[in-house]
């Protein structure tokens, strides 16, 4: 069978690239970590890949605002290619700093528009927080998620979060309404049984507890929690998982790999 090829884009300050690579490899894909300079040098290189991943980290130190510099760099130097990649329906994921980059270049929530219309702002606690969170998977389409990355998940899962700027804010109420209507909200922070949480279970004060969103088509996905840090049960604080061995994060990557196949 054809090997699914993943491109993991990195730059100065990227730091979740190895575990993201390992997660895709665990799901049977190949995954290459490529420096942005090499993509700018060879602009059509991204079309050799099936999946594009923006990993977590502190790109360019998160100077100015988290993810902002890398977002501008990509938009200015590779923008049309990235947009085309997304509009072709290929899977794109941005985790943590990668999510911040996707929002700030505007690939989310609407890659056709390709403009920044939402942001991730400083946590309400005003500090970086590393902790596990309950996430409720929104299942509004035939009792399933609208996003290709989040099919086959239970109603509530846990994933670790680790960020200082994770408070999701849309530009206006209309956008929020659209996101809801188009089933673009993928994960919300919740209590253990799916209820509305308070701090610290709501780790950053996001509008409507939003933890992750996708485009209307469901192939571009950005989230603050780290699925790549929970692909094995061993990585869970209480060693919980499925099939005795794996963590819920693995399903996220498996979904994309299976989708390409």
């Amino acid at each position: 069978m054809k090997k699914v090829k993943t491109l993991i884009l990195r730059t100065a300050g990227t730091n979740c690239d190895y575990e993201t690579q390992a997660a895709f490899e665990l799901c049977g894909a190949t995954a290459e970590r490529a420096h942005i300079n090499s993509l700018i040098e060879n602009k059509n290189k991204i079309f050799e890949y099936d999946i594009l991943a923006f990993p977590g980290g502190f790109s360019y130190g998160d100077d100015i605002a988290s993810g902002k510099i890398l977002a501008n760099e990509i938009k200015n130097k590779l923008g049309d290619r990235i947009k085309k990649f997304a509009l072709r329906g290929k899977p794109v994921i941005g985790v943590c700093n990668g999510f911040q980059v996707l929002l700030k270049m505007g690939l989310l929530p609407d890659p056709k528009l390709f403009e920044q219309i939402s942001t991730l702002y400083y946590n309400d606690s005003d500090k970086f927080e590393c902790r596990w969170a309950y996430l409720k998977t929104e299942k509004k389409v035939k009792n399933e998620s609208n996003c290709i990355w989040t099919k086959n998940l239970p109603d509530v899962i846990t994933l670790p979060v680790a960020h200082g700027e994770g408070k999701f804010i849309p530009i206006n109420a209309k956008l929020l309404e659209e996101l809801n209507r188009n089933n673009q909200i993928v994960f919300r922070y919740s209590t253990k049984d799916g209820g509305t949480p308070e701090y610290p279970l709501a780790p950053n004060g996001s509008v409507e507890q939003i933890a992750g969103i996708c485009n209307a088509q469901g192939n571009v996905f950005g989230l603050m929690p780290h699925p790549e840090r929970y692909v094995f049960a061993l990585q869970h604080p209480a060693r919980e998982g499925f099939d005795g061995e794996y963590g819920w994060g693995k399903i996220v990557f498996q979904n994309a790999v299976d989708f390409v196949k």
Binding site: H35, D62, F128
Partner: protein
């Protein structure tokens, strides 16, 4: 000497002793009279005065920070104990204690010990793991954020600079601060408030570590007013390195490549300034300025260059800057360096400033000429600046050039071996410890005491700190610093376990990191403090499932002024404890560092810090999945206390809170303790232990309570069943801090197998896990019943530090 450079000539040839001392002080050389005279004598032979660059080079190379001259010098030791006197001369205290034990133990799995930037032990057939802990005390006192951040950056570079470079997997951080609740009026003039220092230090560690993408997984925080003006900041890093990259080799003809950050005027005299007492005039310019993203770029690119075999040696620029880094690499060959080629942050630096600046994020490589183009090209692709500044020669000389002139020309042998060996006197009068008057409390007092101990600054939750560190980046932290049965509760982990599945693909093994630190014991007895710290670090590791036979340790001595014989005497005793424990537990020291001169002056009066020895332990776990955490797991399971509870309240948290006079400081019984650790390892590998926690600060009452509230469970303990040595009161039993003890949870069906394994150890079944979420300690014999909701105890533990 031809002098077209910007160097000044330093007149020393005709100076008197008094003038030499003045010159040393004025220029922050921190050199003693003997050392100044050795320099004078050398230049008399050369029939010329030195340049400022030469004197600065000598000062950096001979600094306490780089040379550890106190501990490698001659020490005349006198000990007095109950009118029994001992005399001993140490020619090199470190070589005769910590290092000697490592040599005698001669473990095959020790791959590089006390000779590189970090100690390295074997991980698997292909890889080793390197570990190093450094201190950054004085900079953190002056500029807490910058001081701690560059402390982290510096120790990470030690890992990048070990062998041909290791990939960092985890960081550690331990601190000693003054009381954060100190009234502002009581803070010495010109010093930062301890809370401001604590917050700044944590932020510095957070920002540097998080941006580097290295999880900060283990640490300790200790509060005591003795650290008010001179905090201690220990930063550690661990990394993985292929076995064939552990040795470095510099060849004559190799080119010198500087990679990473540019050189500026920040961090001038960091190395020499660390040997001077702090006061309100201390110069903030000696603190470096960090930029983690520059270092992250260096890390990403240099590991690629390493795997392509593009260089033969690498080291980091730390204390002493280029002078130390290039000086060390070229010690056997000689070097010529063109200082005007060094990339600068801005113009205007004198040659000597370029040479000794401790500007951050710089690494120095020895590159064979054939790889010249390739390596620069590789760094360029990742936007990393890399510039050749000279080469390694054959003449065994240090030659510095600037604008065509000679800025320095000295023999390497003089620089590295010309330092006169000082002789210092060390005295220790050992006071006999006395048992305190029996501590009697009723049930209500015990309840109050339990909450007070849990909320004490040195026991309470450090969650406010730990959660600001990204302790899970890289996805390999499988035993985390905080544990809870669910997300709503938490308790303190004993040790961290890293499962390096991305760095060593297909591995099942884990690396365990833990530490031991208790300066309170050291105020009474530094021998027991050191012994306890070593045992505690091993105990913490054993509690999560480490194999005590595969453990190694690092020493970090932070002491006051070693010129005071009592202070040096207390250090000699601690070093002796290190040797004794290392041998008794068969645990080698693999690296270490000392920071002496932790002294500050207020209004002309000098104060030394309470001595502190941080022991950091690293070990290999065969099967990372066979590890346990501390929260209680299931109702009905049995609770056991392993080890003997002795009447040891000396230096304890209870003694501090209740102002108890006297008390025996906990001693270490290596045989007894090691046996229990081995049996725990066996039990965990046989799946017989559900949860395990070590008993340390606050004693077993604290340990059992933490297990309960972290597990969101209740527990019932029969105090009368606990094995004690001699008669202890209930309070003494619950709060004594005897070493070598663990609380463990065992399923009923495993009880007999568990007991069989421990049959030759002291242990007792003392209670069980209950459903009602109450923590109960009961003694029928003494008519005592302490009953508290576990959630209340959790809150007592959690609420102290919530800044």
């Amino acid at each position: 000497m031809k002098n077209k450079t910007n160097c000044k000539i330093v007149e020393i040839l005709n100076l008197s002793d008094k003038e030499l001392i003045e010159l040393s002080a004025k220029n922050v050389f921190s050199l003693s009279l003997d050392e100044m005279k050795a320099a004078q004598c050398y230049f008399k032979k050369l029939k010329r005065n030195p340049t400022d660059a030469e004197m600065e080079t000598i000062a950096q190379t001979w600094s306490e920070h780089c040379k550890h001259k106190t501990l490698t010098g001659i020490i005349e030791y006198r000990e007095e104990k109950c009118s029994k006197k001992i005399k001993r001369t140490y020619n090199n205290l470190l070589k005769e204690t910590v290092f000697k034990a490592a040599m005698e133990l001669n473990k095959k799995w020790c791959l590089s010990v006390f000779k590189d930037n970090a100690g390295v032990i074997e991980f698997d057939s292909k890889n080793g793991v390197a570990f190093k802990v450094e201190t950054h005390n004085h900079p953190s006192a002056l500029e807490p954020y910058g001081g701690s951040a560059t402390g982290v950056g510096g120790v990470i570079r030690d890992i990048l600079g070990v062998g041909l470079g290791a990939k960092p997997l985890a960081n550690t951080a331990a601190f000693c601060f003054g009381n954060p609740d100190t009234k502002p009026s009581q803070v010495p003039k010109g010093m930062h408030h301890p809370k401001r220092i604590a917050k700044g230090v944590v932020a510095g560690v957070r920002d540097y570590g998080n941006r580097m993408g290295i999880p900060t997984v283990n640490g300790a925080v200790y509060f005591d007013d003795g650290y008010m003006a001179n905090p201690l900041v220990y930063c550690g890093a661990m990394g993985i390195i292929p076995k064939d990259k552990i040795e470095k080799k510099v060849n004559s003809g190799d080119l010198i490549l500087i990679v990473g950050g540019r050189t500026g005027r920040d961090g001038i005299h960091g190395a020499t300034f660390s040997s001077i007492q702090l006061n309100q005039e201390s110069d903030v310019g000696s603190v470096q300025i960090g930029n983690p993203i520059v270092e992250k770029k260096v890390l990403d690119a240099m590991l690629k260059a390493r795997d392509l075999n593009l260089y033969g040696a690498v080291t980091d620029c730390g204390a002493g800057g280029l002078s130390s880094a290039i000086g060390e690499l070229g010690e056997k060959t000689g070097v010529i360096v063109y200082l005007d080629k060094v990339p600068l942050k801005y113009d205007g630096l004198c040659p000597w400033e370029i040479w000794v600046s401790e500007a951050q994020e710089r690494m120095v490589f020895a590159v064979p000429p054939k790889n010249k183009k390739k390596i620069v090209e590789l760094f360029k692709k990742e936007n990393v600046e890399a510039v050749f500044v000279g080469k390694f020669t054959k003449d065994k000389k240090l030659t510095l050039k600037y604008d065509g002139g000679v800025a320095a020309s000295m023999d390497m042998s003089f620089l590295h071996d010309g330092i006169p060996k000082p002789t210092r006197l060390a005295v220790c009068k050992i006071k006999e410890e006395k048992v305190q008057k029996p501590v009697k409390m009723n049930s209500a007092d015990l309840s109050k005491a339990l909450k007070a101990v849990l909320s004490d600054l040195n026991v309470c939750s450090k969650e406010w700190i730990v959660r600001q560190y990204d302790h899970e980046v890289q996805g390999q932290t499988i035993v985390k610093p905080l544990h809870g049965a669910n997300i709503e509760v938490s308790g303190p982990g004993d040790a961290a376990v890293i499962f390096p599945y991305t760095a060593a693909k297909g591995t099942k093994k884990g690396v365990v990191l833990s530490n031991g630190l208790n300066p309170q014991y050291g105020k009474i007895n530094t021998y027991k403090m050191a012994a306890s710290a070593i045992e505690e670090s091993l105990r913490n590791a054993a509690a999560v499932g480490a194999d005590v036979e595969k453990m190694s340790v690092l020493d970090n001595f932070c002491w006051g002024n070693p010129n005071k014989s009592e202070i040096l005497g207390s250090l000699v005793r601690a070093a002796n404890a290190c040797y004794d424990m290392s041998k008794a537990f068969e645990i080698p020291f693999i690296s270490g560092k000392d920071s002496l001169h932790n002294e500050y002056s207020i209004g002309g009066k000098k104060y030394s810090i309470p001595p502190a020895l941080l022991i950091s332990a690293m070990g290999i776990i065969e099967n990372a999945a066979n590890t346990v955490t501390m929260p209680l797991k299931n109702e009905g399971n049995k609770i056991f206390i392993l080890g003997v509870t002795r009447n040891e309240l000396g230096g304890s948290v209870l003694a501090k809170i209740k102002n108890i006079k006297n008390g025996i400081v906990p001693d270490v019984y290596p045989k007894e303790s090691k046996k229990i650790m081995k049996m725990i390892y066996k039990s965990i590998n046989n799946g017989l232990i559900e949860s395990c926690h070590d008993c340390s600060e606050g004693g077993l009452a604290v340990a059992v309570s933490e297990m309960a509230f972290a597990g969101d469970k209740g527990v019932k303990v029969d105090i009368d069943a606990i094995k004690t040595k001699g008669e202890l009161t209930v309070a003494e039993t619950l709060f004594s801090e005897s070493n070598g003890r663990f609380a463990v949870e065992v399923r009923s069906e495993n009880e007999s197998k568990f007991k069989e394994i421990f049959k030759s150890c002291v242990f007792a079944a003392v209670g069980c896990v209950t459903e009602d979420k109450n923590v109960i300690f009961e003694s029928v014999k003494n008519k005592i019943k302490v009953k508290e909701k576990s959630r209340n105890l959790l809150n007592a533990w959690r609420d102290t530090i919530n800044w």
